[in-house]
């Protein structure tokens, strides 16, 4: 079952309360999203660690319920 963009944003902010989250529904099918996430939690972390934080936030939905979420992560001012 597809996942709602608001639900993705809610889960990310639950894990990273300071996050600025921008989500685009790429195909209009509720299954292919791109998310841009800016959070101070990312500073000093590698890209892999940054994406792993997001995947943790999504509580196992990534790769299952959520087929495609293109991620772009960064810390503020970087």
């Amino acid at each position: 079952m597809p996942m709602d963009a608001n639900e993705i944003e809610r889960l990310i902010k639950k894990k990273l309360p300071d996050a600025q989250v921008t989500i685009r529904d790429l195909a209009g099918d509720g299954d292919h999203y791109a998310a841009e996430v800016v959070s101070a939690e990312f500073s000093g972390k590698s890209r892999v660690q940054q994406h792993q934080l997001i995947y943790e936030a999504l509580e196992g939905n990534m790769g299952g319920t959520l087929h495609a979420l293109a991620l772009q992560t960064s810390a503020p001012d970087s």
Binding site: V48, Y55, G63, Q72
Partner: protein, 116 residues
């Protein structure tokens, strides 16, 4: 095979080959757009790599996700270290970081980084 045996097998693949791409499909016939993008980047850079088609074995498909704590495929390994999935590889390629990283780790590729 148990999950431990699968992880041992993955560990051996990434130890025995400088560059390993776990992907859906093969480098000749990628079966997923994300896998295809990484193949295109590696081929463009002229990197020699070992492809592993996770669609051939559900145990490997699940095993590589738990091995890396990374829920999606493709997954690229260089010199035994997980570098990233499609988004990270594309970002690194566009910033020329991938080319620099390959050079620094002694992996030959056709594109040498430009000197500033």
């Amino acid at each position: 095979m148990s999950e431990n045996e699968i992880h041992d097998w993955i560990r051996k693949q990434v130890a025995d080959n400088d560059v390993v791409l776990f992907m859906k499909g093969t480098r000749q016939f990628p079966q997923c757009g994300f896998s295809s993008q990484v193949v295109q980047i590696l081929d463009y850079l002229g990197v020699d790599y070992q492809d592993v088609n996770v669609l051939e074995d559900i145990a490997i498909r699940d095993g590589v996700k738990s091995f890396t704590n990374w829920p999606t495929v493709p997954q690229l390994y260089v010199k035994g270290e997980f570098v990233g999935g499609c988004d990270i590889i594309r970002e690194m390629f566009q910033a020329s970081e991938l080319q620099t990283m390959l050079t620094e780790r002694g992996v030959s590729h056709g594109q040498q980084p430009q000197m500033a």
